[in-house]
């Protein structure tokens, strides 16, 4: 810890010296670019780059003077004029204000980044010139985009897409978690910043708090149980199918793959029908003289949980099996032969070779499957989304946090509470995966099985 701070201190000092020094060393061209983007590039006769940077500066200033600044203010106020349908006054739409504000914030960051890039670019060119080399021409720059810097060309679209469709929504949702957006504060009603109130609501007594803790408890139990069950069953199945005795492996593997391939919503709906009050299973129970069991109805808490567990196993065991099969075939056969010669029996071979190897190789997937199961939306959405339990706030006793989230934000428009819960889920899952990852053998002894 002490070392960390010392290193941090040194880094800050380094940064500061570099910064101060930069002003000292910077030549006229660099200073020109600091005043006007692209000017230094022009002075080095890099016309193409110069025009690009100058254009960016002009566009940026135009944008921020006309819209950007206003939008940024909008992000802070979230609108001041309430709509009035009587007078026909079109008020401010807080959500759009938030979105535009966020966009101009991103553009501002981008603009600053480009400004720094522009200065750094000219600075690097000045260093090149100092060493007696020529500044790069625009043609060379373009050529580099197909050769040395080809990754920039390739990564441009994916990164842009990820920023727009993954990063921005998440940032937006994080922002929403600190507002009162949601019933009844939905545009045209104005939305306001409320700080940590949503989080306090989630953790306090009332409607939401107890539901949260009940669901969280079941969610953790579910994630652990289902991950372990699937993992163990999948591994056993793979080992069984890997046995030398078994002939026609391809044929036997077809059936699990069949289960794996059919789209989840089909099988889940089919299972729901199968276990429904008037479904075939209850039909046979009634025929045998029993009374229909409440599998997925309001009273069937533990029935439903058990069925969910088994159905999820039916769905995911095949993929674990495929994974384990792949890994088993990677184990060097010499290891087994050596073990046999050393006198190890079948069980010993399994315990000392197969298991450590498979556990080592699958730890990363174990983490992802744990997270996946923690956030397993499908199973209980399809099986029991029409049930609401007593003592649960718009939820039922098999819902996971993610299902509750859906009901809160999509079905009932409690957007800000939903956002707060999303954040909490994120913190829980990332903390758990970090811990598992650090404790995992794959992290501890990286080279053992390579």
């Amino acid at each position: 810890m002490k070392r960390f701070f010392r290193r941090l201190g040194k880094n800050i000092v380094d940064l500061w010296t570099n910064f101060i020094n930069f002003f000292k060393v910077a030549n006229l061209n660099v200073k020109a670019s600091m005043c006007l983007m692209g000017a230094g590039q022009f002075m080095y006769r890099q016309i193409g780059r110069g025009i690009l940077y100058l254009g960016i500066e002009i566009l940026g200033i135009l944008f921020f003077s006309i819209y950007g600044f206003q939008w940024l203010v909008g992000l802070i106020t979230l609108g001041t004029v309430e709509a009035d349908p009587w007078t026909g006054l079109e008020g401010d739409n807080s959500v759009i204000f938030m979105l535009l504000g966020l966009m101009s914030l991103v553009l501002l960051i981008l603009f600053i980044a480009l400004y720094i890039l522009n200065v750094r670019d000219v600075y690097n060119t000045s260093k090149l010139v100092l060493r007696g080399e020529k500044p790069k021409t625009f043609k060379q720059d373009l050529k580099d985009l197909l050769d040395k810097k080809f990754y920039k060309t390739v990564l441009f679209l994916p990164i842009l897409g990820t920023i727009i469709f993954s990063l921005l929504p998440i940032v937006f949702m994080i922002l929403i978690a600190f507002t009162n957006y949601g019933e009844p504060y939905i545009p045209p009603v104005l939305v306001d910043w409320i700080g940590l109130e949503n989080f306090i609501k989630v953790f306090s007594i009332g409607d939401i708090g107890p539901t949260f803790f009940k669901i969280l408890g079941w969610n953790i139990l579910w994630a652990i149980a289902t991950t372990l069950l699937n993992y163990v069953l999948g591994l056993l199945l793979a080992i069984l199918l890997n046995k030398k005795i078994v002939k026609g492996k391809f044929f036997w593997r077809l059936f699990p793959i069949l289960a794996y391939a059919i789209p989840g919503f089909i099988t889940l709906t089919a299972f729901k029908f199968m276990f429904s009050q008037g479904g075939p299973i209850n039909f046979y129970i009634e025929q045998a003289g029993g009374s229909a069991l409440p599998f997925l109805t309001k009273d069937g808490t533990w029935w439903a949980r058990l069925i969910g567990l088994l159905i999820n196993a039916w769905l995911t065991v095949p993929s674990v099996m495929l994974l384990a099969t792949g890994i088993l075939s990677n184990i060097n056969n010499d290891l087994y032969e050596a073990a046999k010669i050393d006198g190890a029996g079948a069980f010993r071979q399994f315990k000392d070779i197969t298991l450590p190897f498979v556990v080592f190789a699958t730890t990363p997937t174990l983490i992802t499957s744990f997270i996946g199961n923690f956030n397993n939306f499908g199973v209980f959405y399809f099986l029991r989304s029409d049930v609401t339990s007593n003592g649960y706030f718009v939820s039922n006793d098999t819902d996971l946090l993610i299902n509750w989230l859906y009901r809160l934000s999509i079905d009932n428009k409690y957007y800000s509470i939903g956002a707060a819960i999303s954040l909490i889920i994120f913190i829980i899952t990332s903390a758990i995966s970090l811990i598992i990852y650090i404790k995992s053998p794959a992290y501890k002894k990286e080279d053992t099985f390579r």
Partner: protein, 577 residues
């Protein structure tokens, strides 16, 4: 075809791991040069730097007349064969061969013609339609060779090309590559860890260890005149036996009673100063022979192991002065029965003696150190009151010398001339005690008349001296370096710019800073660009240029990796009170 020149090339990986240090080499046009050394010695890194696949940390590489430091591999016009062939698995042999021509926008007919020509040369015409995975190892190797030969590159690079082949194919491909070299007359740079390949194929061999070049010479010279134990044991199979021995007069003692008497020739090469010292003695297994009972060097009671190889027989014995078994190679018939005791003698002209501490060979001195008295007056340095160096302060790093009674002068062994060039020349008279005939020059081992100081000098092949000859040697005064009593060099060869600033250079982040308490200095010198580096024994001199194009000299401790063109910023630091 072109020359390849490496000047002070170094490679430092992240985390200050030095892979290659100060590599200097000039490869002649059409030469077949081999880099050899154990794994991790930097030979492949050097090759990859020539190819452009690794960045050069410092130094310069020329291919032909162009400096290629900042040139991409594709524009360097070189060809390379990789260890795992690196054939494009999805292309047919034809496309593999023609790919480089395609990249250079050659016409289809030209490609076809050239591919067929190369295929014929390598005898792979029937394979042109196959995919690499349908080929055997040897065939793949041929295709990889063909991919190089199809162009006329400036240099051919080979990165351990034969190590994936089985022993028999390796021998065959070895001779084929040698033949190819004769046919195409190209500059071949070949990396291997196999000393047999190195010895059989190359015109010259570069032996490397831990990133440093150990020796560069022809195979014969490397074998007969290794500069240190590493080179001696690395080349030659079975490897040279190294013994710990003690020199007493003209006898090398293995133990209290067992000794080897030096031949006259060896004795003279060794000259003096080693009497009573512990040395390392190297004897190649083939320099042993069976002796008769009357004149033997060793009498062996017990043989640990006998290996009969057909053309030779290897004996494993235990001799004093060496913990591992000693290997002896004898020309014996398979049928001969060896029953102890056996008597062995050693070819005493062919033994090698090394210093115990740095494992370098005794006889070769690149530099001769001659004790001298020096004094400085009016910027003129007087050596032994006979010779003078003018403008001394422009050359000397430590100008504070007034009087140096127990100093040394350092003269490179190839700096001696046998004819007088000017009246100011340093003169020394020596008596020849032994000589070695080398490929380019003769090396003489001599003793300074009256003084018993060892002098090694080289002279052109056409100048011959016999043992006992007295020779007058002349050295131009500017080729003499002044050393202090610890043999640290105090001056550099050329004029340096004064004043010399004692500098302390630190790294902040990724930038180098000269930290100074002198505000004026830091104001006048915002940044310094390294122009030349002088490596002295204990310190480093950097000749640098500031932003006003003024030249300065910095004297610094040897702890950082400096290179030409490095930018050093200055940083003002208030003095602590």
């Amino acid at each position: 075809m072109a020359k390849v020149k490496l000047i002070d090339v170094s490679k430092v990986y992240k985390g200050n791991v030095r892979a290659v240090s100060d590599f200097n080499l000039e490869i002649e046009d059409g030469e077949f040069i081999i880099f050899v050394g154990p794994s991790g010695c930097g030979k492949s890194t050097t090759l990859r730097m020539i190819a452009g696949l690794e960045e050069i940390t410092s130094g310069k590489i020329y291919i032909g007349d162009t400096l290629v430091n900042n040139i991409e591999p594709k524009d360097r016009d070189i060809a390379m064969v990789f260890q795992n062939y690196a054939l494009y698995p999805h292309m047919s042999v034809f496309d593999n061969l023609g790919y480089s021509l395609k990249c250079h926008h050659e016409k289809k007919e030209v490609i076809k013609e050239k591919v067929e020509k190369v295929a014929k040369l390598l005898n792979i015409q029937e394979l042109l339609d196959r995919k690499p995975r349908e080929l055997s190892g040897g065939q793949r190797q041929r295709v990889a060779l063909g991919r190089c030969l199809i162009r006329q590159p400036k240099a051919f690079l080979f990165d351990e090309p034969l190590s994936n082949l089985d022993a028999k194919l390796r021998v065959q491909m070895r001779s084929e590559i040698s033949k190819l070299h004769k046919q195409v007359q190209g500059t071949f740079i070949y990396v291997t860890h196999d000393q047999t390949e190195a010895m059989t194929m190359g015109d010259r061999i570069v032996v490397m260890k831990d990133g440093f070049v150990q020796q560069i010479d022809t195979p014969v010279n490397l074998y007969e005149h290794p500069v240190n134990i590493f080179v001696a044991t690395f080349l030659g199979s079975p490897q040279m036996n190294i013994f710990k021995v003690k020199l007493n007069k003209d006898k090398l003692y293995f133990s209290d009673h067992i000794y080897l008497k030096l031949s006259e020739k060896t004795k003279n090469k060794m000259i003096d100063g080693y009497d009573g010292k512990t040395l390392s003695l190297g004897i190649r297994p083939s320099d042993f022979d069976i002796a008769n009972k009357s004149s033997y060097d060793f009498c062996i009671e017990k043989i640990d192991l006998v290996e009969k190889l057909g053309n030779e027989t290897l004996l494993y014995l235990t001799l004093p002065g060496r913990e591992e078994s000693t290997i002896v190679s004898l020309k014996l018939d398979m049928a001969d029965d060896l029953k102890g005791p056996i008597y062995l003698k050693v070819n005493k002209d062919k033994i090698h003696l090394f210093n115990e501490d740095d494992e370098s060979i005794l006889k070769i001195n690149d530099y001769n150190f001659i004790p001298s008295k020096m004094s400085l007056e009016n910027d003129i340095l007087h050596i032994d009151n006979k010779y003078q160096i003018d403008n001394f302060s422009n050359k000397c790093v430590l100008s504070e010398i007034k009087q140096l009674d127990n100093g040394y002068i350092r003269i490179a062994s190839d700096a001696f001339k046998t004819k007088k060039l000017s009246k100011d020349d340093y003169v020394i008279e020596v008596e020849v005690r032994a000589k070695d005939v080398r490929s380019k020059s003769n090396v003489y081992f001599a003793k300074k008349v009256k003084d018993n100081i060892r002098i090694t000098f080289t002279c052109p092949k056409d100048e011959h001296y016999e043992l006992g000859d007295k020779v007058k040697l002349y050295v131009p005064i500017n080729e003499i370096s002044i050393c202090d009593s610890d043999k640290n060099v105090l001056m550099v060869d050329e004029n340096i710019v004064k004043p010399i600033i004692d500098a302390n250079i630190e790294m902040y982040g990724k930038e180098y800073y000269l930290v100074t308490q002198d505000k004026q200095f830091s104001k006048n010198n915002k940044y310094l660009l390294v122009e030349k580096i002088y490596d002295l024994n204990s310190k480093m001199l950097l000749r640098v240029i500031n932003q006003k194009n003024e030249t300065l000299t910095l004297k610094i401790n040897k702890n950082n990796d400096f290179f030409n063109g490095l930018m050093i910023y200055t940083k003002y630091k208030k003095a602590k009170k």
